[in-house]
Each structure stands twice: as structure tokens, then as C-alpha cells.
Amino acid sequence: MTIDALELRGISKSFPGVHALADVSLVVRPGTVHAICGENGAGKSTLIKIATGAQNADSGVIRIDGQEIDHPSRRVMQKLGIRAIFQERQIALDLSVAENVLLDCLPKRFGRVDWRAAKTLASERLQALEIDLDIDAPVRTLSVAQLQMMEIARAVSFEARLIVMDEPTASLSRHELEPLFRVIERLRREGVAVLFISHHLEEVFEIADEITVMRDGSVVAQGLTAEFTPASVAELMFGRIIDSSRVNDRADDQAGKPMLVLKGVSTERLNNVSFSVASGEILAVTGGIGAGVSELARVAAGASLKTSGEVFVVDESRKMQGIRSRRHALRLGLAFLPADRKRQGLLLERTLVDNVVLGQQAVGLHPIFTPSSAAKLAKSLVPAANIKTANIDVVVGTLSGGNQQKAMIGRWMGVKTKIMIFDEPTAGIDIASKFEIYNELRRLANSGVAVLVCSTDFQEVGQVADRVLVMRSGNVIGEIDGPSATERRLLEMEMSK
């Protein structure tokens, strides 16, 4: 009988007012990939925090290699070979790639850091994983996808017995999945266990040996991957059948009046981009990594400078107003919802009230605010944006990704918003919540808002958009209407010359 790499037995955990985990048991065997599936709030994140020692369970037992761990902490678990790659990046932004890869085990000679050995070691490790990164580059200059590969390299480079990957694919494009899966494959061969948390069921079925399905803090099913189908897992996750087809098309077929118009916009990474978004429609701009989709979102929102061209918002009197700054764009009714909600979107340590009323406070039609009027506004905005919470005074950082995104949408429901620009609207959000977000997007469009979705998720684009623009290295290379924008069709467009 093989010894289990990690065994969790009867784990329970509750937070004030929430029962996060109830009697969860889980066994991960060496050399296997064990996937945990569950929608937001199912308890996945809490479970892995407990497995990695970042949080302590109220009751239950953790065993590593059959040994019971009395006082689990990050440090203890790391020493025992439990490594984690969390969604929240754990990176020293000002250090080089080499230093980050070797962060807590820089090679030393005569008591000081041996930089030459460090560089060799770091590049060996990156090469072993076939990751192409400049080891001297300051980490600040890397893309999100590159950062993640670097983090994986770091986790893998330790004597890891079990690696926890929390939504590792959330920010990766399709091209980058391949290397990740190769790495996981290699780990499996070497007898390392992988605990894989993902809301992409196709990926789960591609890579996992075993699956645990969670719902509302409990395990609802556990078994070999062969015993499940994607449809059965989805049904178990949500307790109902999930429709993965397109969300409803727009209410009336009539295209509205153009609201947002880009004319020949160029930056260092964008080249002469022109298009317009009409009220009532959802326009998606998509492309692979390096296409400039995210940059386009920022420029269109007035948050990044452009070298030439103009972004116009059509105002009430149908005049084209060139936007001069992010604030000017806001004044013209243009809302921006960035992809990195934690860093660029939310006041994480503040309450839901503070976060949802921020839109109104930013626009600032009223120079006076009272805490009670803020609470009153929040009381109606929170259910309007379908945010699931016991009360409006929760700290936003404790909400799930889906609810955080809805908090950002709610922020713009209290003010007159004519254009909304979403950068990766569902990054790090699970399937069921994704659909809720898509439905929100459609509701916004139906209420007359011009919605621009900048996304590298082809499936998402096909599900939600009325029109799709495909970009490659800063150029718009094609347009297609939403219903015919299947993943495959988009991929062909992007690959074609």
C-alpha cells in the first residue's frame, strides 16, 4: 500500500456567520493529480488554505506521509514539502527572475550569496520546465502569464511532495496551457502529488486522475476521473444542470447609436485601432497574449496614454467628446472595470458599502455624503448587482471573486453610466458565477449601456458578445458576429495569416 502524500480527515472550519467547511475528507496520493471542483463559496479556497497551513481548521486531522501534523503553519507545511501557488501572487516585484525563483534558497558560498551559481541554478530550473524567461529581468516587467510560470518554477524547484495550484489556468491563454500541463505531467512521473483547483472542467478532465466535487463546504462526490463526465461534475457542483450555451441575445435586434468611438488609436503596443460600440450592444475584443487586448481596455477608458488617435464618447447632444483623462471619461459616463480586481479595482480592506458607493462618490454630483445615505444606497445596490452576502458591512477582501466582480458592477449601477469597459470580466471566477456575470453584462446592455468586453477567453467571447473583434500584436485583424464566434472559429482567425 502506498502512503498518501496528504490526507485530510474530517476538516471543519467556520468563520463568524459562515460555515466554510463541514467534515471534509480528502486523500491525495503521490504521483497523481487530484482536482477539486466547486463553485465560488464551495470552500475550495478555505480547504487549500488549511492544507497549506495558511489557516488552521477548527477540527479535523491533517496527515502528511501518514504522520499527523499537530501545529500546521505555512512554515511547517513547506518544510514537509507542501507547496502552493495561490491566486494572489507571491512575488518580490523588484527582484530579478533568478532571485524570485530561488527566493528562499539562494545558493551561498562563504556565507554570502553566490550569484553566479544562483543564475545557473535558476536558468537550469526554468529550462527543465521549458519556460523561456530572461533570468536577469526585473519581475516588474513580466506579464501576468510569465509571472505565473515563474511561480510554478519556484514551487517545483523545491523538494516538493505536493503542489497545490489554486486556479493556475485562470490567467493563462490557451498557448500557455500546454507548457503548464507538460510540467504537471512531469511532476506526476516523478511521484509528486498535485492538488489542482480549477473551474475549467475541460482542463480538469484533461489532467486529473481523481476528482473531488465540493458544494457549500461539503464534499458531494469523490472518485476517479473516469467515473465522471464534465456534465455530471457540473451538475454536482451546482446541484442543477448548467447550460453552457450563449447567454440571451440582445433584446431588440436594432443596433443603437454609437456611444464609444475609437479612431486610429495607437500606442507602443497598439497599431491604428478603430471601432465603435453602440448602446445596447456587447462588443468583445479578443486575442492571445501580446495582442494588446488589455492595453486597449485601458486606453479606451482613458487610463493609459496614447501616442496618436482619439477616443470619443458621444454625449447627450450627440457631440463627439475626445476623452482627455480617466476622470474626464468618467464624467462622460464611461466606467472601467479592470482585470486585477484586488489591486486595481477594490478597496480590499474596506466594506462593501464603501466599495459600491465609490462610483457615486467618484462622479460626485453631490458634494455631501452621509454614512447613512451611503448605507441606504448600498442596501439597494447590493441586491441589484446580485451580490450574495449576509450583510453590506462585510470587508470586500473576504468576498468570493464573483461577488467582488459584482461589487464592481454594482459600483456603476448607482450612477448614470453609458459605457462600461470590462477587462477580463471573469478572470478567476468559477463557471456558475461566470454565467451570472454574463447575465449581468446582458442586462446592462439591454438597459442601454454600451458594453466593451476585452477578453482573451475565446469561449467567453463567443458566449456573451454580439460582435467580436480579433486582435493580433496590436492590430485588429478581423470582425465576426457573436453567434458565429465559436472558440474554433476565433482560433482559426487568430492563427490565419
Partner: protein, 347 residues
Amino acid sequence: MTETPRAPMKQRLLRSDAVRFMAPLVVAILAISLYTNGKNDNFLGGDNLKNILLQVSVLGIIAIGQTLLIAAGQLDLSVATLAALAGVIGATRIKDGGSELWAVILVLLVCALFGLIWGLLVAGLRIPPFILTLGGTSLFASIALRISKSSPVPARERFEWLGRAKLLGIQTPIWFFLIIVVVAALVMRYTRFGRHVYATGSNEEASYLTGIPTARTKVLCFVISSTLAGFAGLVAMARISTGDPRNGSQLALQAIAAVVLGGGTLAGGRGSPIGTFIGVVLLAVVQSALTFNNVQTFWNDAVFGGVLIFAVVVTAIGDLRRRRFGARPLLASLIQRTSKASAEVKT
């Protein structure tokens, strides 16, 4: 449509700044006062209470400006020497035969201008305010010495209304301090500007992307803080009828200490004028209690430092239990373990 309710009152109260930061300070102030009063019942007499407030009115006015900056995630170390410079300029104008009203206006304009420069440099060039204003500290000190030719400038009795006159039996500096506290508290709590300050301090990038004028907010905070510092300098000068270029070099750090005592954090997003007021009063009560208890004066700074360190340690321990996301401080797991162990012992 159904509304989502607020959290229970008790929970909100326990999380509020008033309970977490201000209540303990008030308790400390009362405890120290009652203890000292037990030994010498002049301590809680009207004269001493007024005296305590008078002693800290200059510090208090500066600390209110610092509160705005700290809430916006900024800092200004140069306010102390700017206040001294303000006093010197004001006194020099009088000595040269100018009218006092013009002297006040001139000083406030000069200080506002310096604040504007700091704000524009910080917001426009993203210079860390710590270094910038550290430089400013030396700059202002030198200018003050140059203008005053290194010796205190007598201001005769002209500024009496600013520093020594009484209104309803209370000295004018106390009135200025209290009015500024109340106005600042209202502005920070109820106005668009106040909310922008907290948003900017909580997450500047998110605020900017939302469309909040973060740069303008920061610049305004610097301008207000510097103007208040200039006003505080004039009050200090009026109280002793002298513009002393070396006056109050400790004020900047004491002001920051008062803000932190009152619940501010240098990371930004927190801090309130009322909290700062209580923090300032605590510092003053401690100072006065030391005198009443005949503690030798060289202990004053040690007690000041001790109070500050004690307060931040207590706050940090309180925070450990509250944190549920982000990095976890070392002590959190220890506390969890011991509380768990003690819970086991009980059952």
C-alpha cells in the same frame, strides 16, 4: 426588490474606529487624570484643563493637517520647520511695520504655496513624500534662520488676538484648535473631498481607475496641511510674541504620533480628525501628569515614545484576529494556537 441588511449594530460598533481606537485612548486619558487628580486635585481643575489644551493647540492644528495627509497615504515631515518659518515671517513683517492682517495672509499664502509645490511634486513625479519633505525640513529651517538672522524676532504685542486673547474665558488658540478639529471631522466624514481622501489612501490605483481625482486630492491635502502648519506657526509665535526660528522642531513627529494613536496608519486609508484630537489630548495629559507627579523632565520623551509603541502594539494585536486575507503576521498563528489550547483546556 429586497434590500440587503446592515450588519448587526454590535458587530459594526466593535469594528468601528470609535471603539477600536478612540475608546481605549479615552479610557487611558480618564485613568491618568483620575490617578493624578487623586494626588493633587488641581489636575482636573478648570485652569489645568485649559492649560493642557493650550499647550497642545499648536501641535493639534498641525496634527489635523497631518491626519488628512496620512488618510490619503501621504506624509509631511516639513510641517514643523514650516511652522517656525511662518512665525519668523509673521514677526518680521510686524517688526518692519506691516499690518498684522496682511502678515497673516502673506504667511498663509506662502505656506499654501509650499504645500502646492510638495503636492505637485508628489502627485506629478511620484516622488515619495517622506524623502521630499525630509529635504523640505532642512530647507525651511535654513530660510527661517536666514530671515531672522539666527535670533528670535520680537513681534511686540500685536498678535494678541491670535495667541493670548480670551473668548468666553478660553484662550483663542484653544478655540482655533477646536474649530479646526470640528470642521475637519465634518469635511472628512461628510464631503466628497473627504471620501476621495480615504479612497485614495485605501487603494490609489483603484481610485484612479474608478475616476477619482487622486492627484488633485493629494495636492489639496498637502496645501491644507501646509496652510494649517503656517497658521499653527503664527499661533505659536503670537503666544510668546516672538518668531523663534528654532521653535518646535519635534512637532512633525509628535503630530504623526498623535494621528497614529488616533487610529491612522501610514499605509493610508485610515485616520480621523476626532481620533487625532483624542491622541493629541492623550499626549498632553501624559505630559501634564508627569509634571504633576514630579517626574524629572528627561523622562518626558521616554514616556512619549513608550505610549506610542504601546498603542501600536495593542492595535496590531487587535488586528491579528481580524485579518482573514493577505499576509499573516507571525504572531497570529501563535495566538490562534494558544487560544485553541486554552479552549481545549476549558472543555
